[in-house]
């Protein structure tokens, strides 16, 4: 079957505005979703390779899904609204620790008032979402400087958020429920009476979260608000003159982005790590997310997924490949090789296509439509 849109006529604007207006794309997506939602659980259920062990689910698919979700959040801010942020790790941490506090019960002693605020432990789903909300509120606060400063200077301001919250969660023991080691454990994952424990259950949980948020994010970026964000990114003066308020556009971008990143942070802590330390959300996480977005494609929801896959999965593949092929190399050499190959691949990609994988794919599609003719 060729990749052609001939004969596919759109008779309403709603059809023309669909996310995938071309039938072949819709089918590809349906197949992909089918594999993710039905195929993987089935294979895992029958213990068929490569799901015989939990490794693929636990060490690859789970982190991939959660980081792809975080990358969507970063992409909204950096890719769509053009506000560079180096504080994504901090927002993940805020989501994680807020969800943790809400999930284990909040107790704020107000000694001077002879009074204490106590909230009993909330259900896990609610605490994850409220964790995202907390991240959104902090995101708005740290987004306020963006009204005055731009580009690299803003990046430095968001870096301040990163270091500040690294410090807060390390030093303020209230957040860790006074755990002596600073490490905390997630509450049991009960969703409406269903306990999520096995890797495949955790995978399904994250998959549902990611799918829902990806659709919502896509709806936002192709709607009026998304156009406002991109207008601010591309030409803020002209945006202002057509009636877009920079304050509203930038702060909503910070809020939505931080909310998604916060939810991803809560999932990362609760579902993937189980128990964690503040180190899990350091500056390296922020940079990793930023690279995912840049390599995947700024201003593309699909790019966030591809970027996450590339950054996360390729090093693992590179690491496994020599052993699988039976090449006698020491683990150390393999690790060095992994860095060398991975680094040069990133350089090569960014030189060949600075707009990332998403652009590569759209160019590929354009060519494919006309294939075998060049134009």
């Amino acid at each position: 079957m060729l990749y052609r849109e001939a004969g596919q006529f759109k008779t309403t604007y709603a059809e023309d505005m669909a996310i995938f207006p071309i039938r072949q794309d819709r089918m590809a997506l349906a197949i992909l979703l089918g594999i993710a939602f039905i195929g993987v659980p089935l294979l895992a259920d029958f213990d068929i390779w490569p799901f015989g062990s939990d490794y693929l689910l636990r060490a690859i698919l789970l982190p991939f899904l959660i980081l792809a979700l975080a990358a969507i959040g970063v992409n909204i801010l950096v890719g769509y609204c053009g506000q560079i942020s180096l504080g994504s790790g901090a927002f993940m941490a805020i989501g994680a620790y807020s969800a943790y506090k809400l999930g284990t019960g909040v107790h704020i002693p107000l000694a001077w008032l002879d009074f204490a605020i106590s909230i009993p432990p909330l259900p896990v789903l609610l605490s994850i979402l409220l964790g995202g909300l907390a991240a959104a509120v902090v995101g708005i606060l740290f987004g306020i400087p963006s009204l005055r400063i731009k580009g690299l200077y803003l990046a430095v301001a968001t870096l301040a958020a990163q270091f500040f919250f690294d410090w807060v969660f390390l030093r303020v023991s209230w957040f860790t429920n006074y755990a002596p080691s600073g490490s905390v454990s997630a509450p049991t994952l009960d969703f409406f009476g269903l306990n999520v424990g096995t890797p495949i259950e955790r995978y399904m949980l994250c998959l549902i979260f990611v799918t829902v948020f990806a659709v919502l994010a896509k709806n936002l970026v192709r709607g009026n608000l998304g156009r406002q964000w991109m207008a601010i990114r591309d030409m803020d003066i002209a945006a202002e003159l057509i009636g877009i308020r920079p304050l509203y556009a930038k702060l909503t971008a910070f809020a939505v982005s931080s909310f998604i990143i916060g939810v991803a942070g809560a999932l990362w802590a609760f579902v993937y790590l189980g128990s964690w330390e503040p180190l899990a959300f350091s500056i390296e996480r922020s940079l990793q997310l930023l690279f995912m977005v840049i390599i995947g494609g700024l201003g593309s929801i699909m790019g966030s997924f591809i970027g996450a896959a590339f950054i996360l999965i390729l090093p693992i593949m590179l690491n496994l490949l020599p052993t699988q092929l039976g090449v006698p190399l020491s683990t150390e050499t393999i690790t060095h090789l992994e860095f060398i190959i991975f680094g040069s691949l990133i350089c090569y990609l960014l030189i060949k296509e600075p707009h990332g994988f998403a652009r590569l794919i759209s160019i590929g599609k354009e060519k494919l439509r006309l294939w075998p003719f060049p134009y």
Binding site: M17, N224, A231
Partner: protein, 261 residues
Amino acid sequence: MRMPDTSEVLLQVEGVSLAFGGVKALRDVSLDIRKGEIRAIIGPNGAGKTSMLNVINGFYHPNRGAITFKGRTRAQMQPFEASRGGIARTFQNVALFKGMSALDNIMAGRTLKMRRGLLWQMLRYGPALAEEIEHRHRVEEIIDFLEIEAIRKVPVARLPYGLQKRVELGRALAMEPDLLLLDEPMAGMNLEEKKDMSRFIIDVNDHYGTTIALIEHDMAVVMDLSHRVVVLDHGVKIADGTPDEVKNNQAVIEAYLGVAH
């Protein structure tokens, strides 16, 4: 060409002065724009024409003077307030949103008319979808009017200059403005493109009754298009009147051709 049917003043600029440090961009300039007319602002380079437009739509704040728009007098305002009041503009150097398609650029012009909040847009269902489609209809009318159907899905960065100017006009029209400010709409265009653009400007004025203030260097175009012309030189108004009056004004001729000392 249709003459404006009223002498009602839409915008009145009174004694506006604007200085950047020692540079006096505008000195005590007064002018009026009547409802439904095409008003040209001309003058040699550095005369203060673009500064005048920037003052009108709130991008520059004048040091002195007042502006009355639709009966409301003010010393200054923010650009988004101007757009809310019904002032749209295009730029001398095309200021489109480069990463977006022509369609999205024009849709962005409808921002002020769209009411649904973040949560509705997120769901893109029911009223939010209906609103999006309704505005798409209006935008398609503009696309139709400007004859840019074929390029609606093309990222504007890929379009040739003449078409970019047209998309920019479309974005301004999408705001359904009462006053449209055009800053050199024909700069850098060839004859064909100038003819097209002139036709669009006359049509906008004719069909929608939009009041237009334009800056243009091509005198033939200015004299043909505009109902009234104001001439600035070194930030001072030196002439104001119908094209014929301005053409024969001694001060204008001297400003353009120079004068023997």
